[in-house]
Amino acid sequence: MGQATFHIWRGDKNGGSFQEYHAEITTGMVVLDAVHQIQATQAPDLACRWNCKAGKCGSCSAEINGKPRLMCMTRMETIPTDQPITLQPMKAFPKMKDLVTDVSWNYKVNKMIPPLKPRKPDFPDGTWHMTQEEADRIQEFRKCIECFLCQNTCHVLRDHDAKEQPMFGGPRFMIRVASLDMHPLDTEDRLKLVKDDLNIGLCNITKCCTEVCPEHIRITDNGIIPLKERVVDEFYDPVMWIVNKFRGGRKEASTRTPLPMV
């Protein structure tokens, strides 16, 4: 199928530049194959993360011709090869080396989210009744492979670098909270965390995260918007405020409030 030219960003936290490489392209090849070929033949110290090579682990995120993609799921046939293909690391995270970035901030955010707190089991053997319909609602969020492409694309993190003060948890962790919040067994209240610590208010629903998700999770529509609605209901709705006062606390109300279906 011929050759392709790549301009790959080489460097580290102190800086770097694009270097030119050439790769032989064969049928069905993906961008990650080309990177491996360049590694094996021209640049053995070219750094890139990868594991499964099948879109299941979310390790090989990068920007291909400026678009955040998984390198293992981007077929060479879908990219024009009459001009050089640029490969660079995700922009929203600190550079480590070449295509590898420091994504450790994401792991810190994840740790802030309290884990599942299940209600008492329904059956004596310690299990619960759950319908497939209940499971379906959050299984969509649980498909997330933590490639962090949504985090990388989110302008709040990418352009405003809102990782410390204020800190925005980012789309990945909004849907993680949503997956717990909508979990049929869960009794924990995470809305205050979502509002005050993960700052859901900073999201202005541009849906860029949904567009880049390789798992096609409807992050904004099914995760972030329902969470925003719940935050509004709990903290800003005067009727709910009175109801909560009357019931003696938000937490109890939140477990009873039916979730909006979007």
Partner: protein, 603 residues
């Protein structure tokens, strides 16, 4: 020399399902736990597991129980399994699955709202708890998100190169951070190896770069024994086209949901060759097989759901005899179910979403209308570090192993779904017993001279002239040779030839040169992985030569039948005092009567 030191009661090496589960359990016992992983947390190979977790929950078929699961596992392993491990596994898997649900896993459900279970090869009843075809992701994410709140110290992108000993017992591990090549010493009272498999010894494999047999090799060089190394599972259905995706797994769940294997003449060839010990359990007609996949309790399973070793060899035979598909595989057809059910396309997408996605994106093929091309791919190693069944401790005091890098439960062939249950059952046991051991132990002494020797060895590739050997080239050649000479069909002469080549590879490894510096340098990492790959390849070849019969994942053209004599032994390798690999046969302990009766009752 420059390195940082960390101290823990228990150090777990590997953060897939087994490692995470071990770390969680050890931490729960109140000891300090370090967890080391070569990749980022949550990216380990467990994430790739698709079909499900085998556990006799009996939610779908109430005839299921631990005894049937045990008998299925032993039959699948052709009776060279460690029967005690198979027993513990069958008994404890259901509770481990329920525990995952408590920690947040969301499995597919039955109509009654219980955990749904699906059919899989070699399992008599629908037994695999699953989440569509991404069960591994659910398992690892559940353990990860639970584990990060248990006070476990995680060291990401850190690779261990050697274990350290104080006299007989293990006392530490030495490695480097992939990020910047910094060296790190872990001092620990107990160490759990949970490093997974070694598929990267072969050219066509479903394994990621990580599957380089690190734990096998670390354990071996520290004095542990390896058993059953000749038993490699070649999964019958890997992708074969396009070339760049060759080997990527196509879940057995496709066949569990009714998918059939067909040759280029349109024949369903699996009906032609059904082993004697499975005849009574296998469907007579296509129609009966279909009913089985749809939950008819009176139907028997279709021949596509025979054990993986057998299906893989049948596919190879079809291809060899000219009945293969265009690109050297056979056809796996799930679209045909439209003959039986309306809205088949939607059904397939719901049951096998990631397979639909994988073929659509990587193969440009719609599995709801077209057959897939599939062929065998190196998937799993049944063999590994020999451990005590109940505690998972190796013969090296303080050194434990769990999951794929440990051996025993699977015998000569692993049933699909038994690995996800294996890793949580024995991961827990390893963590528990390592913690217990650590509570009664103190930190061992570190020999600084030994550290200096290891460091010298590890940085040596940077000091050689760059015109010397290239690590990637050696790795490619090793993979090609192992595929050709110690692959799915073996002979004495080819394995001897491979043994000779391994000696050359060892010599070439001593000449590998690496350019650049220690910052995230894949060339350097590969040169270090090679040490492990060569060690395990030697184990496979020497064990394979000694087992002069065909059984499970070890098929020999020169000894095509099972032998009664070899059915009574395990092949064991260890590092001799001269540094050379020693190989011997050892009798399998006699199975107690109560387990024999279970086997008899489930013939």
């Amino acid at each position: 020399m420059d390195y940082t030191t960390h101290e823990h009661d228990v150090l777990v090496i590997g953060a897939g399902g087994a490692g995470l589960r071990a770390a969680i359990e050890a931490s729960a016992a109140g000891v300090s736990v370090g967890l080391v992983c070569k990749s980022l947390l949550g990216k380990a190979h467990t994430v790739m597991a698709e079909g499900g977790i085998a556990a006799a929950l009996a939610n779908v078929d109430d005839r299921d129980n631990w005894e049937v699961h045990f008998a299925d596992t032993m039959r699948g392993g052709q009776y060279v399994n460690n029967w005690r491990m198979a027993e513990l596994h069958a008994k404890e898997a259901p509770e481990r699955v329920r525990e995952l649900e408590r920690w947040g896993a969301v499995f597919d459900r039955t109509k009654e709202g219980k955990i749904l279970q699906r059919n899989f090869g070699g399992h008599r009843y629908p037994r695999l708890a699953h989440v569509g075809d991404r069960t591994g992701l659910e398992l690892i994410r559940t353990l990860q998100d639970h584990g990060i709140h248990q006070g476990i110290q995680v060291y990401m992108e850190c690779a261990i190169v050697r274990l350290l000993k104080d006299g007989e017992r293990v006392c530490g591990a030495f490695g480097y951070y992939r990020e910047d090549g910094r060296f790190v010493l872990f001092r620990a009272k107990a160490i759990v190896l949970a490093t997974g498999g070694l598929g990267k010894a072969y050219k066509i494999t479903s394994n990621s770069w990580e599957g380089t047999g690190d734990g096998h090799s670390l354990g071996y060089h520290a004095g542990a024994e390896l058993i059953d190394m000749e038993f490699i599972q070649f999964h019958p259905t890997g992708m074969v086209w396009p070339p760049s995706v060759r080997g990527i797994l196509v879940t057995e769940g496709v066949r569990g949901e009714g998918g059939i294997l067909v040759n280029n003449r349109g024949e369903r060839f699996m009906f032609k060759d059904i082993p004697d010990n499975y005849k009574s359990q296998t469907a007579d007609t296509e129609e009966e097989g279909w009913r089985y996949t749809q939950g008819d309790k009176n139907a028997r399973r279709p021949p596509e759901l025979l054990t993986r070793d057998h299906v893989a060899r049948c596919i190879r035979r079809e291809v060899r005899e000219g009945r293969g598909s265009e690109h050297g595989g056979v056809y796996l057809d799930i679209a045909w179910i439209k003959k039986y059910i309306p809205h088949a396309a939607e059904h397939i997408k719901r049951k096998l979403p990631s397979m639909y996605h994988q073929f659509k994106e990587l193969g440009g093929l719609d599995i709801t209308t077209q057959p897939m091309e599939v062929g065998p791919t190196t998937h799993y190693v049944m063999g590994g570090i020999r451990v005590h069944a109940d505690t998972q401790m190796t013969r090296v005091p303080g050194l434990f192993a769990a999951g794929e890098c440990a051996a025993g439960i699977n015998g000569a062939n692993r049933l699909g779904g038994n690995s996800l249950s294996d890793i949580i059952v024995f991961g827990k046991r390893a963590g528990e017993h390592a913690a217990q051991y650590a509570k009664n132990a103190s930190l061992g002494a570190i020999n600084p001279e030994q550290l200096r020797d290891i460091e010298r060895e590890v940085v040596a590739p940077f000091e050689r002239p760059v015109t010397s050997e290239n690590a990637f080239t050696i790795q490619h050649e090793l993979q090609e040779n192992m595929q050709d000479l110690a692959g799915i069909v073996r002979t004495e002469s080819e394995m001897q030839q491979m043994h000779g080549k391994l000696e050359q590879f060892w010599q070439r490894l001593g000449k590998v040169a690496v350019s650049g510096n220690r910052w995230y340098n894949p060339g350097w990492h590969t040169s270090l992985d090679l040490y492990n790959l060569l060690t395990v390849s030697e184990g496979i070849v020497l064990s394979g030569i000694m087992r002069k019969e065909s059984r499970g994942g070890h098929y020999r053209e020169d000894y095509p039948n099972k032998s009664e004599e070899f059915g009574k032994v395990n092949i064991v390798v260890h590092k001799g005092s001269d540094g050379k690999m020693q190989v011997r046969q050892e009798p399998i302990p006699e199975m107690p009567d109560y387990l024999k009766r279970v086997i008899e009752a489930n013939r």
